[in-house]
């Protein structure tokens, strides 16, 4: 990347990932810049979800996985056995494909993370809830019904609640795994606005199969195909003048 002067927030080197005997990632290397939005695109099954789930090591809870290579957060190894995954996941939050609020109240959802990490004072939790819900552009809609069930919210609101739940633990990096794939266009637009607002304070990595979305929200884009990184560059370059012919074929819709 041309403007890569600052040290990368997340740096991935020669990453191989195996589910049992199946190899999902093949020698991936890329750098994620701080306070930027990095999009990962590619057809279904290309390994884009696995790639971001390696950064917070959530991929390994499925069991029977093998990871080779290097992932560093602020220069510190993430994959090392000695790494405290609890602390890692506090620093690297994640929003999933399907909104997955807990079947608890809105308040209990957004304060779930801080409570896990030992914050129990009501006034502090109240502050965190208001701040996080505000950042996720949900505060106005829910401030009068914080103690109602999160299951009563619409899909888009649920997903913004999930974003607020992540923000409540003060992460540095936010991973988003196709966060809009279950949402309608207007809910999608609101999430995209939220992503834009957040990008000044957080480092965001978003997986999407929607290329317009990648073009709209991201600063740089990685294109994955069959577990390999085909091209990684500034989003504008990828979408206007990609260097690899396969990338152009994919973004112009000739396959995938």
């Amino acid at each position: 990347m041309s403007e890569a002067v600052a040290p990368p927030k997340v740096s991935i080197r020669d990453l191989n990932f195996f589910y049992g005997a199946t190899q999902a990632l093949r020698g991936i290397s890329l750098d994620v810049q701080e306070h930027k939005v990095t999009a990962v695109i590619g057809p279904s099954g290309c390994g884009k979800s696995t790639l971001i789930k390696t950064i917070n090591r959530i991929a390994e809870i499925a069991g029977n996985v093998r990871i080779e290579g290097e992932v560093r957060l602020d220069g510190q190894s993430v994959l090392d056995k000695s790494v405290d995954v609890v602390d890692l996941r506090r620093r690297v939050g994640m929003v999933f494909q399907k909104p997955n609020p807990f079947p608890k109240s809105i308040y209990d959802n957004v304060t779930f993370g801080p409570r896990l990490h030992g914050v129990n004072k009501r006034s502090v939790l109240d502050e965190i809830a208001e701040r996080a819900l505000g950042q996720a552009a949900l505060w106005k809609e829910v401030k009068d019904r914080l103690h109602q069930s999160a299951m009563e919210l619409s899909g888009g609101q649920q997903q913004r609640l999930c974003i607020a739940r992540v923000l409540a633990v003060d992460p540095e990096v936010i991973l988003m795994d196709e966060p809009c794939s279950a949402l309608d266009p207007s809910a999608t637009a609101r999430i995209e606005e939220t992503i834009e607002d957040l990008s000044s304070d957080y480092t965001i990595v978003i997986v999407t199969h929607n290329m317009q979305q990648a073009a709209r929200v991201s600063d740089s884009t990685a294109f994955l195909l069959e577990g390999k990184l085909v091209e990684f560059d500034e989003t504008e370059k990828i979408f206007t003048n990609p260097s690899v012919p396969t990338t152009e074929e994919y973004i112009t819709g000739r396959f995938g």
């Binding site: 959530i58 506090r90 939050g93 997955n100 609020p101 079947p103 608890k104 779930f112 896990l116 992540v166």
Partner: protein, 315 residues
């Protein structure tokens, strides 16, 4: 084969299967009807609230009802925590590894052991080994090393453990993976995930399993035969405990006493009574009370499950 022949075959297949399915229902109705009709004339309020008299040829079965309730309550207090923790380990921790497979096989085998074997195990292990062992350590004569409610409950707890483990395991598995993922991604430890996300969602299933295992345990005779059930006891298994400082005496169930129990009562009335014909109505009445008790438990399990799962969806 012609279309008509195929239709005929289909008709016969449906008929046969439906007849078989209905006949299982007929068996339940017949058993219930039979014990109700034959026991009906003894079923009075006094039968439920009084002790047997006249060498157990008259009077009620209250001590047996009381004993059954106490022993099954004590049983579930032991079996539930053990079963739930075992299920949590198998589902949340061991995953699909080799150890989990071995434990699962052990649980299934435990479920297949005949109940009389549990009775002998209870006598050998709880009464003679644990009980006598405790007595030897205390050195104050025979206190623990004899058949008692405590050991009967423990034996029943081992018997129903597979039921508790399997139903609790199913309740845990039914909790959506996405909840676990969300909690892990927020930095929860495995125990926090279990404690704060999985268990609150699984309680209804776990409790249903617990009630079903109580109804299973309440009907068992063989496991308590040598471990604590009494042929006849002129008193309830109750001891008076003195509360320190206040000097108050309150009655408490004494788990070191023997007890009378419904299914065992049916058994002794039918085989050991000095006049089994005379006591026939009492046998049927007792059987009816026992079956009603398990039915009530089963129905309350179903109602509880329905109520709780409705709450969970709303929560």
């Amino acid at each position: 084969m012609s279309a008509a022949a195929r239709h005929r075959k289909e008709w016969w297949a449906t008929f046969v299967m439906r007849a078989i399915a209905l006949s299982t229902m007929a068996i339940v109705v017949m058993i219930l009807g039979d014990i109700f009709l034959k026991g009906e004339k003894v079923l009075t309020w006094g039968f439920l609230t009084l002790a047997p008299v006249e060498g157990m040829t008259q009077g009620g079965i209250f001590p047996a009802i009381f004993g059954t309730l106490c022993v099954t309550l004590l049983m579930i207090m032991m079996a539930l925590p053990l079963g739930v923790f075992a299920a949590i380990y198998m589902v949340e921790y061991a995953g699909r590894g080799r150890l989990a497979r071995i434990i699962r096989a052990a649980v299934n085998n435990l479920a297949g052991v005949p109940s009389i074997v549990f009775g002998l195990f209870g006598l050998g292990f709880f009464v003679l080994f644990v009980g006598r062992g405790l007595d030897r350590i205390k050195g104050e004569g025979l206190l623990f090393g004899q058949p008692a409610m405590l050991w009967a409950s423990a034996t029943l707890a081992v018997l129903v453990l597979p039921v508790v483990i399997v139903s609790a395991g199913e309740a845990l598995i039914a909790v959506p993976r996405s909840y676990r993922e969300a909690a892990f991604a927020l930095g929860a430890t495995r125990w926090q995930v279990v404690r704060r996300v999985v268990l609150p969602q699984a309680w209804s299933g776990i409790l249903t399993g617990a009630i079903l295992s109580v109804s299973r345990g309440a009907g068992e005779t063989a496991p308590i035969l040598f471990t604590g059930a009494a042929f006849y006891l002129p008193r309830l298994p109750i001891a008076h405990m003195t509360i320190p400082l206040l000097g108050l005496q309150i009655p408490m169930v004494n788990p070191l006493d023997q007890f009378m129990e419904l299914s065992y009562h049916v058994f002794v009335m039918a085989t050991q009574s000095h006049d089994t014909t005379l006591t026939r109505p009492i046998q049927y009445g007792t059987a009816f009370v026992l079956v009603s008790l398990t039915f009530i438990l089963n129905i309350s399990a179903i109602l509880l499950r329905r109520k709780l799962s409705r709450n969970e969806r709303r929560a």
